[in-house]
């Protein structure tokens, strides 16, 4: 399964830089080990910005969304002195707008960005090699495989999870969310005209609420898994994960092929 070396990968040559860093592999070993660390530029700045904006939005949306469904204890005083539900709903709608617009921007970036920007949307299920690597990754996660493979972009399992959980989940939440938002804006509003069809499709307004609510848990399950896997991969795999989404560079811990 030895593929081309990292440097000859289809990333533009200018974006590939090999840097040598010293790293203490294990303090218990006598003598410091000097290792080469290869870095490949993967995530451009709009993509990284989008990632962290989305993180923020999801946090706001989940918290406010939950409190719209199950509101906080009653506020004391007169109604005119309070606007808690109003603020919570405003935050939810505002974050929803940002989340949706950011996602549209992300789709746009898939067209104009580098080829890694397309990984979320196009899962190469027609490639035999992809399936092989998917099962390899699965075995790695089941502790059967001793060493993981190296990947510049997503590994096949990560890519599949990103598509089925994040992309599908996000589209679902945007569509159902704006359908519900259109109910408040009223008949004939842009949200009603674009997304109002969802309501009869799912039955009635309450069904859309239920699905939107389940969608939140779908996203929460995704976030839990995503964060866990990112940390785990950062520690156990052969490349960097978390710092890559901050700085854009993928660092490889070894120079062994494949």
């Amino acid at each position: 399964m030895s593929e081309q070396s990292i440097k000859t990968n289809d990333v533009p040559a200018a974006a590939v830089s090999a840097s040598t860093t010293t790293q203490v592999e294990d303090p218990t070993v006598q003598g410091e080990q000097v290792r080469r660390q290869t870095a490949v530029f993967v995530y451009e700045w709009p993509l990284r910005l989008w990632h962290w904006v989305t993180v923020l939005c999801i946090i706001v949306l989940c918290v406010t969304g939950y409190f719209i469904g199950s509101p906080l204890p009653t506020m004391p005083g007169e109604a005119m002195d309070n606007y808690l539900m109003g603020y919570i709903r405003f935050a939810h709608f505002a974050a929803g707008y940002v989340f949706a617009i950011a996602f549209v921007g992300r789709v746009y970036w898939a067209f104009v960005g580098n080829h890694h920007a397309r990984e979320l949307f196009i899962v190469p299920i027609h490639k035999k090699k992809w399936w092989g690597e998917l099962f390899h990754e699965l075995r790695w996660y089941m502790f059967i495989e001793k060493t993981p493979k190296k990947y510049i972009g997503h590994n096949p399992m990560g890519q599949l999870a990103m598509f089925s959980f994040f992309v599908i989940g996000t589209i679902f939440m945007i569509v159902t969310g704006f359908a519900l938002y259109g109910e408040g804006l009223g008949v004939g509003s842009w949200a009603d005209r674009w997304f109002g069809w969802v309501i009869p499709l799912m039955g009635q307004s309450q069904d859309v609420h239920t699905w939107h609510h389940l969608g939140m848990w779908y996203i929460i399950v995704f976030v839990m898994t995503h964060v866990y896997v990112a940390i785990r991969e950062d520690i156990m795999s052969r490349q960097s994960l978390i710092s890559t989404m901050v700085g854009g560079w993928r660092m490889f811990k070894d120079d062994k092929p494949d």
Binding site: T28, L72, T74, A79, M80, Q204, Q206, H213, V221
Partner: protein
Amino acid sequence: MSQIETFYEVMRRQGITRRSFLKYCSLTAAALGLGPSFVPQIANAMENKPRTPVLWLHGLECTCCSESFIRSAHPLVKDVVLSMISLDYDDTLMAAAGHQAEAALEETMKKYKGEYILAVEGNPPLNEDGMFCIVGGKPFLDQLKHAAKDAKAIIAWGSCASWGCVQAARPNPTQAVPIHKVITDKPIIKVPGCPPIAEVMTGVITYMLTFGKLPELDRQGRPKMFYGQRIHDKCYRRPHFDAGQFVEQWDDEAARKGYCLYKVGCKGPTTYNACSTIRWNEGVSFPIQAGHGCIGCSEDGFWDKGSFYDRLSNIPQFGIEKNADEIGTAVAGGVGAAIAAHAAVSALKQASRKDTKPQDSTKKEHEDHA
């Protein structure tokens, strides 16, 4: 015979003054959400158009729609409304019975072919060839199809005809279906509610009579003028919702103060109807005003969404009825536990890998001896 009296003639014959008649026209315009400029149009239509023949069929239902209808306050009292539409067949209200009644139905259908309005209260059961509802010795399903064939338009009264309502609730033993599942080639106006508001019912008929066309309908076939907004959008308790002030229990201080009923399961935010504007019984009150949450009776399948006192719907597909939050927390908890277990195993693997890597051979020997 073919010369049907106009609405205005009937009113005058019954001793109603022109002044009252015009008052009625402006009230009707207001009820329909139309501007004052429409008043002369309504008056003109009432004066000149012949009354519209209406056939009112009753399938599987409880007659609450009829009960509501006859209590309409404005557009005026019941006898005027009944005169206005020339109600030629309604087995609950008509004087004739048995064969005479059925003959009246056939006569109107023949005489006003393609002209009459078919109003349907209740719905047809399909199971056992429709044997669960027999009208005039035949399944209601047959009567419905027969009467619908030459109708100009069809009004689906109430949640039964519109959505199915209680007889179509799970497990729906009679296989009752809303009428649009049976009649697919005619325009159907849905006027849902259990029952619909009286003034909404008469308002829909008045609109059709006045303008000679169907009122503007939404995606689900409901007149926009009455079903364009949710109860919640025009609820007089809405300020308490926005303020975050809720009734937590039926006997608490908030309930006495008239706070929002959202947390005790009010379906106002998901129910399209005109209760919070038109209200009931000549505008006296409506459920939320009486201190009880909306149960969402004008919405599709409102019987099957779980308790009337919970905001979140039950999701029966999960065997035991659970709502979205219960399912969500269970799944998230399961995933969390799986992650924790996987993380623990990973940590062990990583630790052993670090141990073995530097001094591979010695370590192995060590383990072998042990």
